[in-house]
């Protein structure tokens, strides 16, 4: 039986787990032949992987243990000093860094359920017998996913600007006054951009999951007298649980990595989004604007990478709901 896109990561983890004991899918036919060829075929990937993933991480770990100190009386310029874990201590006790995690946490607590909940409802609607124009809707709703995040944020920043935006104008003519670029709208404005970008993507994934539910199941429910609504709620929804759980993980990890959207909104008005509002922005700012503090930038990046990898590993490895699905 087939499952869907985002489940792949879990499947990878499962496969990895089973690989320790169990034989891989194709065992039996292939034997230990052509190991040389196998390594040759893998070489290009591992070469660029080592160059662009492993080496940078290793270098960042190294760099995170050094700090720039002025020498002697401050005349000889800066030089590197080994400081051990001091950069980590410095970053972790910097309230700006810790609050950047608080920001993404608060953001995720609202955004993830909102995006996923709406996507599920719309996917179920699209899958119901009532929906018209399914194919066009599915294709059309996917389009925002094809818009670069920074351009999506840019478009919305204009749509948030009072003099420019038809939305703000229309609302104020109905006596609803909003100020999307004001400090009171930090989270709604940001969440809206991400909602717009990711709604269609999630819908398409859920819709694909719904499409693969065996026909007999839904038909049996109808024979038993369940209407469309009850079928959707009691039969279909539980069956796409695993897809939903997985997109939830991806959305949560996406939240930790937020960068382009808050960066753009931070310059668009007085949104209350500072130059180091998310962990990624913090590391970026440390490296580029705060006296090239590479030690702190490296430490901040390493912490973020470890947290994100740890989170997704723990959730996919030990998480329950999707294991039996």
């Amino acid at each position: 039986m087939y499952r869907y896109g985002t489940e792949t990561t879990v499947r990878l983890i499962n496969r990895r787990a089973s690989a320790v004991g169990a034989a891989p899918v194709t065992a039996g036919v292939t034997v230990r032949r052509g190991t040389g060829a196998a390594l040759l075929l893998m070489a290009p990937f591992f070469a660029v992987f080592a160059l662009a993933v492993l080496a940078p991480i290793g270098y960042a770990i190294y760099l995170s243990q050094f700090a720039q100190r002025a020498s002697g009386l401050g005349f000889g310029g800066l030089h590197s000093v080994w400081v051990g874990l001091d950069n980590y201590r410095r970053v972790l006790t910097d309230s700006t860094y810790t609050s950047s995690y608080l920001h993404v946490l608060l953001y995720a607590v609202v955004a993830v359920p909102l995006v996923l909940g709406l996507s599920v409802v719309i996917a179920l609607a699209l899958d119901s017998a009532y929906a018209l124009g399914r194919r066009a809707a599915q294709l059309g709703l996917f389009v925002p996913h094809l818009v670069p995040g920074v351009i999506a944020a840019l478009i919305w920043a204009y749509l948030y600007t009072p003099q420019v935006s038809p939305v703000v104008k229309a609302l104020s003519s109905w006596h609803v006054h909003i100020e999307p670029l004001g400090p009171g709208f930090t989270y709604p404005s940001l969440i809206n951009v991400v909602l717009w970008e990711s709604l269609g993507y999630n819908i398409v994934i859920y819709y694909a999951s719904l499409q693969a539910i065996p026909r007999e199941m839904a038909e049996a429910a109808v024979v038993d007298g369940a209407g469309e609504w009850r079928t959707a709620w009691h039969i279909k929804l539980p069956l796409i649980r695993s897809a939903v759980a997985l997109t939830a993980i991806f959305s949560a990890i996406g939240a930790m990595q937020l960068f382009a959207e808050p960066l753009l909104l931070s310059t668009a008005g007085s949104t209350g989004i500072s130059q180091d509002w998310t962990p990624n922005l913090y590391a970026y700012t440390a490296a580029f604007t705060r006296n090239n503090d590479y030690g702190a930038a490296a430490a901040a990046s390493i912490i973020l990478a470890a947290l994100a990898a740890g989170l997704s590993y723990v959730v996919t490895r030990f998480g329950k709901p999707w294991r039996q699905a």
Partner: protein, 305 residues
């Protein structure tokens, strides 16, 4: 209406699907039908309104956009905007666009091939430590690329590669998830018997990959390429940290920098930002619409149970 099944997930047989079109018997507007379609209409409006607004804004004068006169039939300046887009700063926008094509085209074209080769090898060969090596690939999937971008910059700065095409191109080649997908595709699309037959005929292992494996993995390759292409085309963070020479910018970074400069330079180039955004979105939309079956396959792949 019947919804054509898209590319079958790897390893054959399509899962049983509920037949579409059974609803054709009744076209009465019940409250349920009205509710469902109203919801879809509202969502479609939410999705398309910003896009339509941007298309209009790209066709209007700067003044019209600034005063909020976008969704009207006045103040169009399409030809002028297009001319400005291709000519300002000696045609730098065209350069950005070509750069994006280069980064995404070469990055995804070569990157997907690298993935397919590795995924095929993981699927078809057994050797000691294989699964441990695959675990390393999975680690690459789990560590978000955004978290390694800054370390990548620090390393590139040390190596003197900052501000070169390679600084963006080399990291773009890496796609651990693509290796995983390729392994799944290989398990589904390349029968082991074919390779056995090839071996009996005395073909070398590498020749079999090129002549047997690769052609069978064509659709898998296209799927991986498609997703990698869109990821690189939409990428921003990597280019932002690596590049300061605007002749090397991809289009997303170029538009961002241009938009940032408007606050100090004045709105003369505002139409360029708008029209430039529209033009920057177009290639992906065209590619995804024309290659639907492949990206749908990507979303439903990884599904061999």
């Amino acid at each position: 209406m019947s919804l054509s099944r898209t590319e079958p997930a790897p390893s054959g047989a399509a899962a049983p699907t509920r037949a579409r079109g059974r609803s054709g018997r009744r076209r009465i507007w019940t409250p349920s039908r009205a509710a469902v379609n109203t919801l879809l209409l509202v969502v479609s409006f939410y999705t398309f309104f910003p896009l339509v607004w941007t298309v209009f804004a790209g066709a209007k004068t700067a003044g019209a956009v600034q005063t909020g006169d976008v969704l009207s039939l006045r103040n169009f300046n399409i030809v002028g905007n297009l001319r400005l887009l291709w000519s300002f700063q000696d045609g730098i926008y065209g350069r950005w666009f070509l750069n994006s094509l280069l980064y995404a085209g070469v990055g995804a074209g070569v990157g997907a091939l690298i993935c397919v080769a590795a995924g095929y090898a993981f699927d078809k060969y057994e050797f000691p430590g294989k699964e441990r090596l695959f675990g390393l690939v999975l680690l690459g999937v789990l560590v978000p690329s955004a978290a390694t971008t800054l370390p990548l910059y620090l390393l590139a700065a040390k190596a003197g590669l900052v501000n070169t095409y390679f600084a963006v191109l080399i990291p773009s080649l890496v796609n651990p998830f693509g290796v995983y997908l390729a392994r799944v595709f290989s398990a589904g699309y390349v029968p082991n018997e074919t390779l056995e037959a090839g071996r009996i005929d005395g073909a070398s292992e590498l020749a079999m990959f090129v002549k047997l494996g690769l052609p069978m993995l064509r659709s898998g390759y296209t799927t991986i390429l498609l997703f990698q292409f869109s990821a690189i085309w939409n990428g921003f963070f990597l280019a932002l940290v690596m590049l300061t020479d605007q002749h090397l910018f991809p289009v997303s970074l170029g538009i961002y920098e241009l938009n940032t400069s408007l606050s100090s330079e004045g709105p003369a180039l505002l139409p360029v930002v708008m029209l430039g955004s529209v033009v920057a979105i177009l290639p992906l939309v065209v590619i995804f619409v024309s290659l639907q079956r492949f990206w749908r396959a990507g979303l439903t792949a990884g599904s061999v149970k």
